[in-house]
Symmetry: C2
Subunit: 207 residues, 2 copies
């Protein structure tokens, strides 16, 4: 996939360094970008460069932020006594999109994974304990992946947090809304039976 222009080659190299983008796709993207106006291309390059230059991590919850505190932490409308613990910034975006959570967040920056050499000290767990002590937290919702690593991390957190006498919850596991029962895997279906909810509750929470 050699081209006659070294500038094109450099752009293709840069684009194909992104995850999931091979050299053919990178070439297609580069030629697409070449067809735009100079101004549009400058805007594109600036958007990427400025993101790196200006974004910082919220010093409270480690969410991405344009200032010292992120939009969630600095909002007076959010419940200050509830924290949702997530693995990653993307999880916050997914949860915010539901419009069903009104507390604040705490980003761990990963999950405990001995295979990858990630222990509790590599995550923002001590900072979480400090927040629990200082911020009068009454409930922590653990929204971690249902994987071995996610479950291990939830378990570790539950042990570390037990002394504070706060309510610990995890997000419900069950059959996806709109899914046929026959296509649900048996563990999920089993959990959805064990953790069944009163019909009235289920009706009221639909939206």
């Amino acid at each position: 996939m050699e081209s006659s222009s070294k500038y094109l080659q450099n752009a293709v190299d840069a684009l194909s360094s992104l995850p999931g983008i091979g050299r053919k796709t990178a070439m297609r993207l580069a030629l697409h970008i070449l067809n735009r106006s100079e101004e549009e291309v400058a805007d594109f390059a600036n958007a990427v460069a400025e993101m790196k230059a200006h974004i910082q991590f919220c010093k409270k919850c480690f969410n991405l932020s344009d200032g010292e505190l992120c939009a969630v932490c600095s909002s007076p409308k959010r419940d200050r006594n509830m924290l949702c613990v997530v693995e990653d910034i993307r999880d916050i975006i997914a949860i915010e999109a539901t419009h069903q959570y009104f507390g604040r967040y705490h980003v761990l920056g990963g999950v405990i994974s001995p295979m990858d050499g990630i222990g509790p000290s590599d995550l923002h767990i001590e900072e979480l304990l400090v927040r629990v002590k200082d911020e009068n937290i009454t409930e922590i919702l653990m929204a971690l992946s249902t994987t071995l690593e996610g479950d291990t991390t939830s378990y570790y957190l539950s042990k570390r947090l037990s002394e504070f006498g706060i309510t610990l919850t995890t997000i419900a596991r069950g059959v996806s809304v709109g899914d046929n029962l026959e296509y649900a895997d048996e563990i999920t279906l089993g959990k959805s039976i064990v953790h069944r909810v009163p019909y009235e509750t289920s009706i009221n929470s639909q939206n």
Copy 2:
């Protein structure tokens, strides 16, 4: 897919403007870029911006080029009497990768497509005729798509070029190397029978 940072949002908007990249993928790419060093991100942004700033079209063949003439046109090693007519710059890259073509190129910039409002005057056809007159061309290889539009364009070119008395060829259509006969479509298989080649020739050209 709203994020708490407008810089992140701008970068996601920019990345998702690329063809085939949706907002979720763009977010994944943006977060990946965020994890790189400042220098790496600056290199990335520069590679894209510099491509647009420096690339020009070869004034002879309309290939992408870092100077007035592209690497192929300015190479003394390429056959100056043979031209390969292609639709797009990507076709040149594909043909160069075969190491089987030693002449020069002419990029049409598309194919004749009345449905899309593209007529002969929107393509670099007049420039091709000028080259045929001026450059002592003896053979033109038409390497266009086997679509209605590609075939129409080849036919149009053959009419316009007939007066020059040069050899007009098109690339061979046939069963792909490594393909099972049973999976080849019948038109391709039919063409491969009509345009069968002597066994000796076929052996010698294998590589």
